[in-house]
């Protein structure tokens, strides 16, 4: 197995060991030992939450630090166990198992499978699978790919990346948890998002202030008028976002007004 997948597997299993009851661990070990039978694997995969529970993992600082390039902060015990069982099976049939699980997955399973994309063997080959997750209308499934996940920034081409950002705005999801948002700013995305903002304004709707972050260095003279419109809006978060966008593109920032970070803007936007 690819070394990254192997080390993820041993990490996940060590976390499970420190969290599972003796009985739950015994169940896991038994299933782990019989992965060569397909039927048993799929049934075990489905059974994980009822056998091991769905408590949040809440990784310790050390555990979090051990994850190079992926973020387990929102993971749960059943998710860790499911991915461990998937990674522990024979690598030759890995893709077949992943595809079948995606085709038959319930909401919880799909979230689990997509958030673990960067841990799979040969992840570069999975960009299409990831894009399929983004096409889902189930918001938590979309977010399992888009949020707290290094997969898109590493493996998406520009078109897939841009579609993801636009869809996030479109479905009312947030941008801040998308990894690589600043580094992957691009001219085509900036142009698309300006069009999107015009469409929203024409319909008398608000624009998510996080949109302005995606202008990055592509905020040019021609787009200044739009950012100034955000700056002049009633919404304090839009004003603060416009300030940040101006600063990021090396335009002079207005002297007055509230200075907030993208993090603070995101927190203020969060629904609850």
């Amino acid at each position: 197995m690819a070394t990254e997948s192997a080390s993820a597997l041993s990490l996940l299993e060590s976390w499970l060991t420190s969290r599972l009851s003796t009985e739950a661990q015994a169940w896991y070990d038994e299933k782990r030992a019989s992965l060569s039978c397909d039927r048993d694997f799929y049934i075990a995969f489905a059974l994980v939450p009822r056998k091991l529970g769905k408590a949040d993992l809440i990784p310790t600082e050390d555990e979090g630090a051990a994850c190079t390039g992926w973020d387990p902060s929102n993971w749960t015990v059943d998710q860790a166990a499911r991915i461990a069982l998937l990674l522990a099976g024979p690598e030759a049939s890995f893709i077949g198992r992943l595809e079948k699980l995606c085709a038959t997955g319930d909401v919880g399973e799909l979230v689990t499978l997509y958030q673990a994309l960067p841990l799979y063997p040969n992840p570069a080959s999975l960009a299409k699978r990831a894009a399929e997750g983004l096409r889902s209308n189930v918001v938590p499934v979309f977010e399992a790919v888009a949020h707290r996940n290094p997969f898109p920034k590493r493996y998406f081409d520009q078109a897939a990346w841009n579609q993801m950002v636009l869809k996030a705005l479109f479905i009312g999801s947030s941008l801040h948890p998308i990894q690589g948002l600043d580094a992957r700013a691009n001219e085509a995305l900036a142009a698309t998002l300006i069009d999107y903002a015009h469409e929203r304004w024409a319909a008398g709707r608000e624009v998510n202030p996080e949109l302005w972050r995606c202008m990055g260095p592509f905020l040019n003279e021609a787009r200044l008028e739009d950012v100034n419109r955000a700056l002049a809006s009633e919404n304090r978060l839009s004003k603060a976002a416009a300030r940040l966008a101006l600063g990021a593109a090396k335009f002079p920032e207005p002297e007055e007004g509230e200075a907030l970070s993208w993090e603070e803007i995101h927190q203020s936007l969060a629904p609850c």
Binding site: Y42, A46, R50, T104, V107, V139
Partner: protein
């Protein structure tokens, strides 16, 4: 806007334990949530148009545990389902064999509360064969069974279904017999099964008759559902009947048994539906299954905006 007719401060809590939401609109979800429905069960059934490939069947089952569950969550309703091969499509032998192969992939998914709805339609030989095979599957996976009783030759078909269940050694306490009427209820209760009643305009039960059934047979093992689907049906049937029973003097305790607790007790035997799921959900379920703009958060008064409570 209507107040809770029982005049208590507790919000109304209703479960519709048999409703085919895939065939319904978001308006229905909105009205169901507003009328007090906190959870519902969507049994796998046929779609009016027969499926001809196992792939179509799989996509349907996937949507029951996937997209439909999410759709319900947007309205603050917890969505559960049952999985099984229905009696109509059991008559396509090639399809039925293929579906039997893939059913185990779905039976143990989260929120699958029973194997069902299974039973007889025309009471053919093939229907009988796949009923029996699925009863054995339910035993293998220790599942509750949801039985669909036939529209035609109902009394005999219902007795026959119970005979078959008993022949296979199934515990009646783990079976809900659905679509009962005045003719079947006595035997179903006497034999120890849960007796479900479907308030479905014109073809099944009307709710004035339902009130009388509760008066006569009590509330111990009886519950009601709408079975609303793609036909002329009423997704508010449970809440209308809740109110009608109150108007006609059924006690609050009996009403709550019939509209909430009994379905929970029956399908709760699966371990896959619990009151905490909606009263005090796990953090991960809060993240994944209470998404979007719930219409009934923060204690709004449940309401029914229909003119008449009567379903005939």
């Amino acid at each position: 806007m209507s107040e809770d007719p029982s005049n208590s401060n507790d919000p109304i809590k209703l479960i519709d334990p048999h409703v085919h939401m895939s065939a319904r609109t978001t308006d229905d979800y909105e009205r169901m949530a507003a009328s007090g429905v906190v959870a519902l069960i969507e049994p796998a059934f046929w779609l009016g148009q027969p499926r001809t490939t196992v792939g179509a069947y799989m996509d349907y089952l996937s949507s029951l545990v996937g997209f439909e569950r999410f759709r319900a969550s947007q309205f603050g309703i917890r969505h559960y389902c049952t999985v099984g091969l229905n009696s109509k499509e059991a008559n396509n032998e090639e399809l039925a064999e293929a579906v039997m192969e893939i059913l185990p992939l779905y039976l143990q998914k989260e929120g699958v509360v029973a194997l069902g709805e299974i039973g007889y339609d025309d009471q053919t030989e093939l229907e009988d064969r796949y009923l029996r095979k699925q009863i054995e599957l339910a035993k293998e996976f220790d599942m509750v069974i949801m039985i669909h009783t036939p529209h035609r030759d109902k009394k005999h078909g219902t007795s026959r279904t119970m005979d078959v269940l008993e022949e296979h050694g199934v515990d009646p306490a783990k079976v809900a017999i659905d679509h009962n009427n005045e003719e079947t209820v006595q035997e179903v209760l006497d034999r120890g099964y849960w007796a479900a009643f479907t308030l479905y305009p014109n073809t099944k039960m009307g709710n004035e008759r339902m009130v009388e059934i509760v008066r006569e047979y009590g509330s111990e093992k009886i519950f009601i559902d709408s079975a609303a689907d793609w036909g002329v049906s009423d997704p508010l049937a449970v809440s209308k009947t809740f109110r009608l029973m109150h108007e006609r003097g059924i006690t609050k305790a009996d009403i709550e048994q019939v509209c909430y607790h009994n379905a929970l007790a029956c399908y709760g035997q699966s371990g896959q539906i619990k009151e905490e799921d909606w009263l005090n959900p796990l953090p991960v379920d809060q993240r994944n299954l209470f998404h979007g703009n719930s219409v009934l958060r923060g204690g709004q008064t449940p309401r029914i905006d229909e003119d008449s409570l009567i379903i005939e």
